[in-house]
């Protein structure tokens, strides 16, 4: 067995008096798809944002994609190149065209020659199903299109690991599918993915492992069939019931 691509040990994160993460230990294997579920405020997003150090942990160690993220010599800029991130609100660069959203990061960060960066951008946009929008601005695209561009932008950095922070939560319901299917394709290609999501059907179908977080700790984890169908803890049962039967 190869070394895990993500190792988190004793992770705590505190915002003022509010301790959001209270001791997280987690290992993710290369190629694994892990879905993080749990009630709002449970620390899912914070945990995800700690992996690439968008949030600085209060305590604990993290290694990701071969980088010691919390060590004294951590080169976060180099590390983040290898860790793609997709946000709930897409966060495409609003002053750049769709094509430039993919080209500029490659050129500025990876120092890719222009021709190569443009070719790669076109290839990735085609892969996520965005055609003929190269010169459009992000605001001219639908949410689903923007999110697919955001995924392509992250992939342009050739990451070894992808983080998804509620990638479909800001989308109109009919646009969720197109984003999830891109993510499914990515998982099928063997990308390691850590996904915060409320899409239980996606978790069930695509995830290798589901983690249920509540109160800043991992309450339960295992194969999706176990955790989603037959949760062992009362908290997970209550949460899943609310998600799956919101009207009851």
């Amino acid at each position: 067995m190869t070394a895990p691509i993500v190792t988190i040990a004793g992770l705590h994160k505190r915002f003022g008096d509010n301790e959001v993460l209270r001791g997280i230990d987690l290992e993710i294997a290369e190629g694994e798809v892990v879905c993080l579920i749990g009630p709002s405020g449970s620390g899912k997003s914070t945990l995800l944002r700690c992996v690439n150090l968008l949030e600085t942990p209060t305590a604990g160690t993290i290694t990701a994609a071969g980088h010691d993220m919390t060590g004294p010599d951590a080169d976060l800029d180099a590390a983040r190149r290898d860790i793609g991130m997709v946000f709930q609100h897409f966060n495409l660069f609003s002053h750049l065209s769709i094509l430039d959203n993919l080209v500029v990061p490659q050129r500025r960060v990876r120092k890719t020659p222009k021709d190569e960066a443009v070719a790669e951008a076109r290839r990735l946009l085609a892969e996520v199903g965005i055609e003929g929008k190269e010169r459009a601005r992000p605001a001219q695209l639908s949410g689903g299109q923007q999110q697919r561009v955001a995924i392509a932008r992250a992939l342009a950095m050739k990451p070894r690991l992808m983080l998804f922070d509620e990638p479909t939560s800001a989308l109109d319901p009919e646009l969720v599918g197109e984003v999830l299917s891109v993510m499914k394709g990515l998982a099928a290609e063997g990308m390691t993915m850590l996904v915060v999501t409320h899409e239980m059907a996606f978790a069930r179908e695509v995830a290798d492992r589901v983690l249920f977080l509540d109160g800043g700790v991992i309450v339960e984890q295992g194969a999706p069939a176990e955790v989603l169908t037959d949760p062992k803890t009362e908290r997970a049962r209550t949460f899943l019931h609310r998600v799956l039967h919101p009207v009851d």
């Binding site: 690439n52 968008l54 590390a79 983040r80 860790i83 991130m85 946000f87």
Partner: protein, 272 residues
């Protein structure tokens, strides 16, 4: 009793009628005021002081030199203001304390001092304190720095507001792609911030156009004179106010297109 109600009913106005009446009254007052002023004014006297066509014609073509100088002074001061103001804005939002403190002090000082005083300081104070100092471009250098210092403080504050108006998610996206803090500023934050501050910067340009009228305190020649000084000289020579009208119109010739341009740029940004 019943009769009173039926009689009162037509007198009671609907809300729409009341609004119409209120507006009608305001028009009536406006017309009355204008009519009163028109009747009270001595139109011949006004025409004699402001509308002497021969005096106006005599100002041309010499006035174009001062008109041109007004543009040059404005552009120079604005350029200086941008070159200094943008770095000051970046220092204002820096994580490094001393940068912030310096930038805050700079803004407070040059925003608080009258432009006229700063111009005096640059034109006379500094040369006295540092004998032998030479401003590049003579009076043009003095103006660029003298007006530019004040302007840079305002520009810095506008640009800082613009930087802070760029959504946090833009920075997070750039950082998570592996861009350094500096690279993020240059590639993502500043380009967006500068678009946001186009309207206040245009405003600053209009202010500078007018502040260029202070340049006369440096002592200017015919070649370096700006529009206000030229108009005032003509006023003295002809003992007539027509030059002021001509000068004023020429200022508007500069500032009104700037305002229109700003509105167009603003609309273009909105559509995004």
């Amino acid at each position: 009793m019943e009769a009173a109600t039926t009689e009162a009913a037509p007198a009671r106005m609907t809300a729409r009628q009341r609004r119409r009446l209120a507006r009608g009254l305001q028009y009536a007052v406006l017309v009355a005021v204008v009519a009163l002023l028109a009747a009270a004014a001595d139109w011949e006297q006004i025409a004699a002081s402001f509308f002497q066509l021969d005096i106006a014609a005599d100002m041309f073509p010499a006035v174009w030199t001062s008109f041109w100088n007004t543009i040059v002074y404005t552009v120079l001061a604005f350029a200086f203001g941008m070159v200094v103001g943008v770095p000051i804005a970046l220092m204002r939002v820096s994580a490094f304390g001393p940068y912030r403190w310096f930038a805050t002090a700079y803004v407070e000082v040059f925003r608080g001092l009258p432009a006229l005083l700063v111009l005096f300081l640059v034109g006379f104070g500094v040369p006295q304190a540092f004998p032998g100092i030479q401003y590049p471009g003579g009076v043009y250098g003095q103006v660029a720095i003298g007006l530019g210092l004040t302007s840079s403080a305002y520009i810095a504050e506008s640009v800082r507001a613009g930087i802070q108006a760029v959504p946090r998610g833009q920075v997070e996206a750039a950082r998570s792609l592996g861009m350094s803090h500096t690279r993020t500023m240059v590639t993502v934050v500043l380009p967006q911030a500068l678009r946001i501050v186009v309207p206040p910067l245009t405003n600053e340009l209009v202010m500078l156009t007018k502040d260029s009228s202070l340049v006369f305190v440096l002592g200017v020649t015919t070649a370096t004179m700006e529009l206000s000084k030229f108009a005032r000289n003509e006023l003295t020579d002809t003992a007539n106010a027509t030059p002021l009208l001509v000068g004023g119109l020429l200022y508007l010739l500069l500032t009104i297109p700037l305002g229109l341009l700003a509105r167009r740029l603003e609309n273009r940004e909105d559509r995004r």
